[in-house]
């Protein structure tokens, strides 16, 4: 009797997952004949949003003029396809110029390079990206193990390796599809593009 119940429950559970899989129809990397051109439908992107929320915060005290995706690409040294190794411990840098002296806190992440659009960083290399806490609200919180596309630029401050941008940042899903991390129109328009194709497209936008 007990065995029968377990069997029925297992079949029901399996059927439920098959149903779920068919409803979402998120293709996996391996199952694609031409992953370079595959793009998810809006429904599939919407279904992924629960796990990869769209961030739209802006700093409380600053006035900002929203840049375009083109601006971000043009200003970045490179676009990395990288894995998040984890948050770094916040650190401080002292700054002094003219009438203003200050010590600011910085937050950020350690990343492992999967691919570097500019071709300077090797696969498996570790980089640290960080930003001043005054603009923390502009950034989504990244989880360890996440894969992302991220615009970065080499910092000119001692003790700070790379600046990074939340605008033009994309989450890469298990199936290898990119969806925008920040709520900006021209980035959202690229939601659901396969990571290889997106990297190529975005890097191709950069004005040389």
């Amino acid at each position: 009797m007990k065995g029968k119940i377990i069997l029925v429950s297992s079949v029901a559970l399996a059927a439920f997952f098959v149903f779920l899989f068919m409803t979402l129809k998120v293709p996996k990397t391996g199952s694609l004949s031409n992953e370079q051109t595959a793009v998810l439908t809006q429904e599939q992107v919407n279904a992924l949003r629960a796990a990869y929320p769209l961030h739209s915060g802006v700093p409380s005290f600053a006035t900002m003029k929203m840049p375009s995706l083109q601006d971000i690409i043009d200003r970045a040294d490179t676009l990395l396809y990288a894995k998040v190794l984890g948050k770094i411990d916040p650190y401080e840098i002292e700054f002094s110029a003219g009438a203003l002296q200050r010590k600011d806190s910085f937050f950020g992440y350690d990343l492992e390079v999967i691919r570097d659009s500019a071709g300077k960083l090797k696969k498996g290399a570790n980089v640290t990206v960080s930003a001043n806490a005054v603009i923390k609200e502009l950034y989504p919180s990244l989880r360890k193990g996440m894969e992302i596309i991220i615009p970065i630029s080499k910092s000119s401050f001692k003790g700070k390796q790379y600046d990074f941008s939340s605008l033009g940042m994309f989450y890469v899903t298990d199936g290898g599809y990119a969806i925008s991390a920040y709520n900006m129109e021209d980035a959202i328009a690229k939601d659901g593009t396969h990571v290889s194709l997106l990297l190529k497209t975005l890097w191709g936008m950069k004005k040389k």
Partner: protein, 221 residues
């Protein structure tokens, strides 16, 4: 059944009334703990008016010289607003609100190489015990009081799209110094009224406090 419907109707009526009272009496704050606003007010209030002593000695001529006279227009923009604010010109050493034109290295230090051209201004507010108010926790620790502030403006004046965007930014930052938050983001009930406190400059054509902002001041002070 009829009794049940009546109860449901009363429940929704209650909810509606609660909603209308809430939007009428609460100003948009800069910080919230969950959905509870953390009120921040200027510390020096005389006869119901926040006393802002403003100085612009560290501004570059772009911000101070005629014909645009950005600084003096911004300094006066909140003076007398809703009968709750007095803005006075003050010497640098005695001022409680100091404007600065940041230099390029400071702007990079704050916003990084990728965003340095996107940020137009930044207000930094401090409690009576000299602590920077930068998040909900420091806001609570400040006992809700703002004692002084710095307003930093971009060295990249070509980042401003037009004359209005300079004026909007400077007036907006003084709004933060008064403790006002953004109505359109960072609060539990975001909306986009005509307001000098909207979080980003898009194509606004005004550059002084709007009715929404005066209502927020009245609710706060």
């Amino acid at each position: 059944m009829a009794k049940f419907s009546k109860k449901v109707l009363l429940f929704f009526l209650g909810l509606f009334l609660l909603g209308s009272v809430t939007t009428e009496t609460l100003a948009h704050e800069m910080y919230y703990m969950g959905s509870s606003p953390i009120s921040l007010k200027w510390n020096n209030i005389v006869s119901g008016r926040a006393q802002l002593k403003i100085n612009g000695d560290n501004l570059s001529s772009f911000y101070t010289s005629s014909p645009n006279s950005y600084y003096s227009i911004a300094r006066d923009s909140w003076n007398g607003a809703a009968g709750k604010v007095s803005c006075m010109q003050e010497s640098f050493s005695s001022a409680t609100v100091r404007f600065y034109t940041a230099d390029a290295t400071l702007w990079e230090f704050l916003f990084g190489l990728i965003f340095q051209y996107d940020f137009l201004g930044l207000a930094e507010i401090f409690s009576p015990s000299n602590a920077a108010i930068i998040d909900e926790y420091s806001a609570i620790n400040s006992q809700g009081k703002i004692a002084y502030a710095n307003i930093l403006l971009t060295p990249y004046t070509s980042s401003f799209t037009n004359v209005t965007s300079v004026r909007y930014t400077m007036c907006h930052e003084i709004g933060h110094v008064l403790g006002l938050g953004h109505p359109d983001i960072g609060n539990p009930n975001p909306s986009t009224p005509q307001s000098i406190m909207l979080s980003s400059f898009t194509n606004q054509t005004y550059y002084s406090p709007q009715q929404h902002d005066l209502d927020d001041l009245t609710a706060k002070y």
